[in-house]
Amino acid sequence: MIILRLFAWISLALLGAGCLAAPVWADPAAPVPGLRLTDAVRTALANNPDLLARLQEVGVSKADLVTAGLVNNPLVFASDRFPGGAAPAGSQSNTEYSISFDFLDLALRGLRTRVAGLQLQQAQAGATEAVNALTAKVTEAWYDLAAQQQILAQEQVILDGSQAASDLAQRQFDAGNISALDLNRQKAETSQIEIDVAGIEGDLHLAQSRLRVLLGEAPRGEIAVSGTLPPLPAHDPDEAGLETRAVASRPLATVARLGPEAAEQSLALQRKKAGLGEVRLGMDTETEVNGVTETGPNLSFALPIFNHNQGGMQRQQARLLQSRQRLLAVKQQIRLEVSSAYTHLETARRQDELYEQQLVPIRQRIMEQSQLHYNNMLLSVYTLLTDREAEAQAMHQQVEAQRNYWQARAELDRSVGSPTP
């Protein structure tokens, strides 16, 4: 129950904070039925077994915190010894009772609790990082599927054109107007495009499978996303300060930052133990066979002659140094992820701009001019269809650039740890 509440809190907080990528809107002119991005993310956060398993680590840490706050139970001793043959007559059995507490355990409770508390914070930050990572994966998978749907539609146009060209070539051959050689050349082009389309259909199925698995469903099955890839926003986030912000606020950095603190507390704990093991203090009472009762305190502890926990302290020293280095490494990793994501973003934007402002309009103008030339018997119908295929190919590549942009955007949000404006 605690886990579910924790998960719900994280999800709602993230949704409320806009941590999720901007949703893709269906084309208002031609809405396409299918899964919206926001719905995909919600479903994944609720159902993805990897995430749900990861979230259990918070539960484990919580349990560790509870355990750390508990003291060991007192130790009770009782014995009853019957007198032997040499005991005087009227002797009674020798009974002994004692009770003792491990006071060292009690003394170390505070430190233990602090360490467990820090580890719980790490687990919580780790869970947030996992939620962010899953959100980014779902977003990237959603955009990939949207792109594959568009690409397949465009490739279908190319295939339709090529099949029409092959059909026409077959009719020319049947009428005796072209040779078998020329007919087969045209058929080979069409066949190659069919092969390419089969590959794209496979890519579509793979994209569907990836998304389905992220949503917690079985890989095989149909799934479609709604709408088309949105146009790129007017501006990208300002790169200045992103790395600093990521290092300061990303949950992965929080996990790493808590490491040295937890390791220092653990080292203090090991020092306090100092090889004493338990330090038990209690009361002991014994009734002799002659009926005399003796009562008094008892103290027991291990003498730290050979082992005064030097191994434990060394281990914890090493873990402290390790955690400090890990913190540095995580900061570097975060900076690299932010930088890489931003580079991907810039590259994808530049390519999309070139497609949108140059290649696609040029291909469209070529198509218009080709039609004009064809209308005046200055150009072959096969060339007209080839130009149409080239136009569709340019649009296909632009879709890939747009997908790359939105995936880079999700990657950037994840690497920063929160939505970028």
Binding site: G161, L168, N177, M367, L372, N376, L379, V381, R388
Partner: protein
Amino acid sequence: MTDVSRRKLLASGAAMLAGASVLKNVSAALAATPQAHGYTPVVTPNGTTMPYTMEGGVKVFRLVAEPVKREFTPGLVVNCWGYNGQTPGPTIEAVEGDRVRIYVTNKLPEQTSVHWHGFRIPNGMDGVGGLTQKHIQPGETYVYEFTLRQNGTLMYHPHSDEMTQMAMGMMGFFIIHPRENTAPVDRDFAIFLNEWDVKPGTATPNVFAMTDFNYFTFNSRVYPGTDPLVVRQGQRVRIRLANLSMDSHPIHLHGHIFDITGSVGGRLPQSAWFADATVNVPVGTTRDIEFVADNPGDWPFHCHKSHHAMNGMVHDLPNLIGVKQKDVAAEIQKVAPDYMPMGTTGMSEMDGMNMGAPPNTIPMGSTPGPFGYIEMGGMFTVLKVRPHITSYHDPGWYQAPPGTRSHLVGQKAAPMQMPMPMKKKP
């Protein structure tokens, strides 16, 4: 004599004088005037004759080699090189025995020279750059001077970067009339044949083309931009043909049989004439044909290589003759919505089509005529023979006398129609 009678006399006299003046003008317009020149002046359709000045008994001509924009026909303007603002250059006319001096100024972007094709002249005047003279550099003026020791239909053209400069249109007639006009004609035409590769949507000839041309011209014009050859019935007509293109051209005249009477070498003896309806004009020479225009009508005069009588043809289109396209057209229209199937039944379906065209590109051959579209272009014009004309302006379409026109069986001959309007794309 009364005032009225005097007025009547004066009026009638004035009328007689006016009538005589009109008659004289008509005669001057229609009749050859050998007495003014010693020869019937050559008419260069869509061109001009070069004027000259006399300086010390020498006929002085001035040629300027320069870039020229030439309208082949409305809708097609080509970036050419020519002389004195035109291609072909202005026709030079002179008489055997004349001493001529020709100044050549080069305003081209490269060097040039002028070769006098077929001339028996001093070697140093032959005009071959690098061999008989230095090339004329841009901005320079050279002078050629020689005495004409022959007669015939000759030519002038560059002999520097000849391939480029002739492909760009640099050539012209040099007609040397005999001293004595022993073979007078009533009408004398000069037509220069040429070929061009001007790709659709462009304006500059591709000078590297060797065999695949798409425009074929009479005096750097294509039909319907070629002027008709208007003659009066009964006139003796000479047509001089010159060819500096890359192909020979068999030029055919309808309705008449002509004699081939001359070449660069001059007038053939009559025993060497032969009659035909088609004269092949090889590259690098000229042919003169003569006939009496005794058959009234509109007579096509064209190259009989059928592609040479079309405009802007592209030659690598798929052959769709006999190919049923209706349902495959629907498939193609899914990817190219404006696609229309063409070519199943030939090219007449293009007649009158007005679906827009690339800039500076004209239809292949679709000129409205009196009975539908005349599916010709390129090297094509019309010899218009009329019995009663008072000028050589275009007299319009010929109206055949009743009973002399082909018609649909079972019906009377169709009346002449107004020129058909251009069809628009549905």
